[in-house]
Symmetry: C2
Subunit: 323 residues, 2 copies
Amino acid sequence: MKDRLSILGEDWKKVEELIASSLASDIKLLDDLNASLLENSGKKLRPMLSLLMAKACGKVTPDSIKFAAASELLHNATLLHDDVADQSATRRGKPTVFSLLGGTASVLVGDFWLVRAMETILSAENERDEAIRLFSKTLNNLAEGEMLQLGKAESADTTEADYLRIIYNKTATLFESACITAAVSAGADEVLRQAAGDYAVNLGLAFQIKDDILDYNGSDIGKPVGVDIREHKITMPLLGAFVNAGAEKEAEVRARVAALDAGDADGAAEIIEFARENGGIEYAEKRLEDFRQLAVDALSPLAESEAKQCLIELAAYAAGRNK
Amino acid sequence: MKDRLSILGEDWKKVEELIASSLASDIKLLDDLNASLLENSGKKLRPMLSLLMAKACGKVTPDSIKFAAASELLHNATLLHDDVADQSATRRGKPTVFSLLGGTASVLVGDFWLVRAMETILSAENERDEAIRLFSKTLNNLAEGEMLQLGKAESADTTEADYLRIIYNKTATLFESACITAAVSAGADEVLRQAAGDYAVNLGLAFQIKDDILDYNGSDIGKPVGVDIREHKITMPLLGAFVNAGAEKEAEVRARVAALDAGDADGAAEIIEFARENGGIEYAEKRLEDFRQLAVDALSPLAESEAKQCLIELAAYAAGRNK
């Protein structure tokens, strides 16, 4: 990641500074929480993507900085809400706001980040309406996606089309608004905006499929396996195994998923084993590779540049990572 | 309330229709939840206030309908988030989304209502920037207010100034944005906008002080007493008792509040008794009456009208209600 950041240089620093200053509050408890969240804020994939896209579309403008910062603020807002929803005790190895101060704080700090994201977008000089429309759509998609997933989890009847809609709504949609607003901020024409969006959506789908494969295969950072299936979330590896195993077996396994108790580690392990034995991982890796390739192909209207090369490498990284 | 609605006539119906149509989703689980939330959505004080203010400022325009609907969408979004924070099983006698489907659903349905509120504001024809600025500020205030309250609850050192800031942030701020955007939508000049804001802030403070008195006195609908003090929330009745009882007694009671266990009903009852015996209720009622009067006085720049009369009565209702 170091190289990508060195291409971005001062602009990256400006994004980090804007994220921090956007969160300023005279409420001490809130200010302290925000500082500790910023310290532990991970790799900042979305603003990195956003700045690289602006650069690849021609130039990083003051609005590019704002939209990039907003994408990270929005992402963290949704994580704070997810932590409440999932009752998560830790994130990236540190205690969550939820575990330190409870649900009230985590929901409301999330709302606070959300509002500051909106205000950051609204402070843009140009194309503010387009940016707010895109990010609003994303927030809408995130909420709808979780509700769709929740509804499907009850009946365990997720199809591949449902799954793709869910992961578009959960993950790809924020990549999409980050990249399109970046193109917009760079003054890109309609063709480049479309290219930026297509790249981002396909990258986001690949990224989430990889995440879902790691839930079957385990990761280098020791994330637990089988979390999804215990929540009755049917993802690409299991969908792939269904294709290979035939309709009768599929119906049987779906019924087992629907009846699975969240604490039933053995039951979850059996379903993971079924997916592995029936080529589910390979199927998912094939689909992942398809989306990675579509992401790279989508960039063809962009002129060659170092930033474009980084975007291509980012797609390879998203597909190849083991954490 | 019937009379106020008959003054608003068709416009009220338009607000209700816009609220419902703003929430449309093709995700069945979400659509079903929204329908049941709308059925149980209470007295809709904020959009009523908003439409009455627009009318009292001269006219109800298409934007008035939008801002009024947005105020109700925002209010319900915050209730959905509060239910998660407070782990509430029921609201207005019905099971909450939180109790039916858990924290994930309640946080995300809240986010969904929030986004649809934002989109409704953004669909306005005029003064969209001013409206989004006002409602964003409100969302910011709501989050900051809860965090301030949470911080103060730990140390039990809330002063009257802290308390007024908290209740402004928690309650009055949404009354304020609802009324100012209403004035804006009616084409009101700066003087009338200011009047609308002053009325709303004072009404909101009175409304919340009344709520806090009911937590000491009990209400006609059987809401439990002492909920606030068990959460270490020091409100106007206790602050009033401190003024009357002197510094030594105040320090002693504050220490007891700080040490109070959430399940300690007897300890809470003792503190409530202390507030009652030391004139805390009377003190709070006096402050409530001051704010009600300030609200009414603030309306003086508005021409006489049936709608203005309703706003005056609404202030009396907010101060006098027993539920």
